[in-house]
Subunit: 144 residues, 6 copies
């Protein structure tokens, strides 16, 4: 949504880093059809960090720390069967659900300083998981 | 536009599915130069569906129905010369115009239940048509 | 951010054109690690133009002028060592910084009529520079 | 390998169609590290068909039948745990292994007429499976 | 095809440049189904030039001339209805057919010096036309 | 080149891994035009490994070692001004030249066991460097 039509003078900087993860899982519910069977996915993952102003170094956030934070968050599920993880018990680990899960993990890293001092200036993030070349989902929200 | 700078606590989920369509058409008006001649395009089309909350299955909308709805909307113009279709009479079927046309068709499907019960929770959509590797256009709007 | 959750009835059209540029530069500051050395980048650049309504020809802006404006803006830095340009003296020419620099140049072209009469209707723009397949940055803002 | 340096006057036509499939599996052997755990993958699959001359319609092979043949071959493993399929018992279903498996299935379809009369003129095929944005494997061979 | 298994010591350098073109056309023959109707396509076109050794400047061919040669060849069909061009009378202008047509035009440019002195060292070329994100065709051959 | 038309019964397996590197350099010679100035590039690099038969684990080569070998080779030039490196003195470090340089470094790693025992079975390799979205070059050769 362009800021123009909403509020004059609004601006945003965004930095995105990409990584990837392979997992297995299955879904509960007739709506999922054959995806109720145990299967898996490669997610190509884009983590976007947002700020209204650049910091003194001309950065949104340290790109090395951004890559590291994303990689660490993904390592929790990498090469795992999500059906066996208590963290996801009772939930369908859909692409959109995992986008939110990843957001929350990175938001926690931002809060605890894992993205460095630059993390304090972040105003929002957007996590996108591409499950194939023809389907992807994202979760975007403001940071408190 | 990141929710952060605008309104604290705002969030959005997005699901996108991709399809494609080949059409012929021509444009009226000097601004179009050689594109006033009959030519054509492949549009690689991304249909994005937006919600503020996931439904009980952990979904934005049934991805199978999303693919089906997009495919049906595109079938109306698939392998057609748009210059011969009364639907587009008097209009230039530019990429941005077609993004809007597609939005309206999918919005009608959402309204009539074609995307299932999940469609009721949709708050907005964005349709993007890529006319080549170096040019694309989109139309995004809220759903009533 | 979808307009839906924010303000009902909001809509936006977007047109994007892509180009590319190769430059050399170095960064000042320990946070940059090995990037403090003189190195370079290819930026694949997406310039997005936004409007609330299409013009009388069914366009956001003349796509030929959009490509031309982007190409002209990039020609200023093409095959240059940015460390030697007075324009950037004292600044780190990070990807996000260059996204803003490009925005300002194109905004000036819009203001001076370089995008044709259609440029008057533009409400916002977003400039994205992809520095590799796994990292990119953008600057988006409203137009006065 | 370009025909030039090898044999003068050699030529080849190639047609490629793309599809995708999601599966779960695990690997046996220390070399696989964490991939010994049950995990999964999305494979974006490119099936390439080769001929020395086009047929009377100007085609390598009917593209509709090519898409259909690829889709049918992939349906055998779609949303399955490959560890549970007798077809793969005792084998590691690596990306390169699956490229060969897919080749053999499509070669059988070519032999049985599933690609139509145009299939008779095919001289070779190449199957490529992309397991992520940074890794892929293929199997290419001549057709008897 | 890797040179290894065929002939030890074989090597090849390849340079590829990309451009794009939009056309209208229709096909003759029941096998084409709805594509018998007048429609169109965007072709994203990759022109690959092959040599066994680099020239004295460390080049396969002048990349500026390569882009120019490709652009000129495509300008012949750009924004045209191919059904109206005597050049294609009686032929189905399929993607694979156009790959060959483009090869022949570029081969003629190579022969007439349009790619500069570096063109003399070329041993082969490959032309690829992508008609969508899920289908493409190519023609590769040696140069006399 | 498909093996079919050349030699019946020929086959090849290929595994490709992708990485990226940013460098600065300049070229000598009028043919390079503005690229005679100091500038830079991001190369997105694909390293392809070829075998005629899979090994006992169902692999072409250990993909972890393949990624590591590519990363190590690229680290030599990463964030460097190639004009200052004695290794390249007197040479134009064009994209095609660097593809060959990278091939030789990886071939040395294969010879010294850096790709593990699987490296012994490799029959050829192909290195591709993408300098932008519209231009790339490669070097392919057999392994002794």
């Amino acid at each position: 949504m362009p800021p123009g039509p909403l509020l004059k003078g609004v601006q945003v900087y965004r930095l995105t880093v990409r990584d990837r993860v392979m997992i297995a899982h299955s879904f509960q519910g007739e709506i999922f059809g054959p995806a109720q069977q145990l299967h898996g996915a490669t997610y190509v993952v884009d983590a976007e960090f947002q700020r209204e102003q650049l910091d003194g170094d001309g950065l949104i956030v340290d790109i090395g720390l951004a890559h590291k934070a994303l990689s660490e968050a993904l390592s929790v599920i990498s090469f795992r069967n999500l059906d066996d993880m208590s963290e996801f018990e009772g939930d369908n680990t859909t692409t959109e659900y995992l986008a939110r899960w990843l957001f929350d993990r990175l938001a926690a890293q931002v809060a605890s300083g894992g993205l460095g001092p630059g993390g304090k200036g972040l105003t929002g993030m957007c996590m996108t998981l591409r499950e194939s070349d023809v389907a992807w989902a994202s979760y975007e929200a403001s940071l408190a």
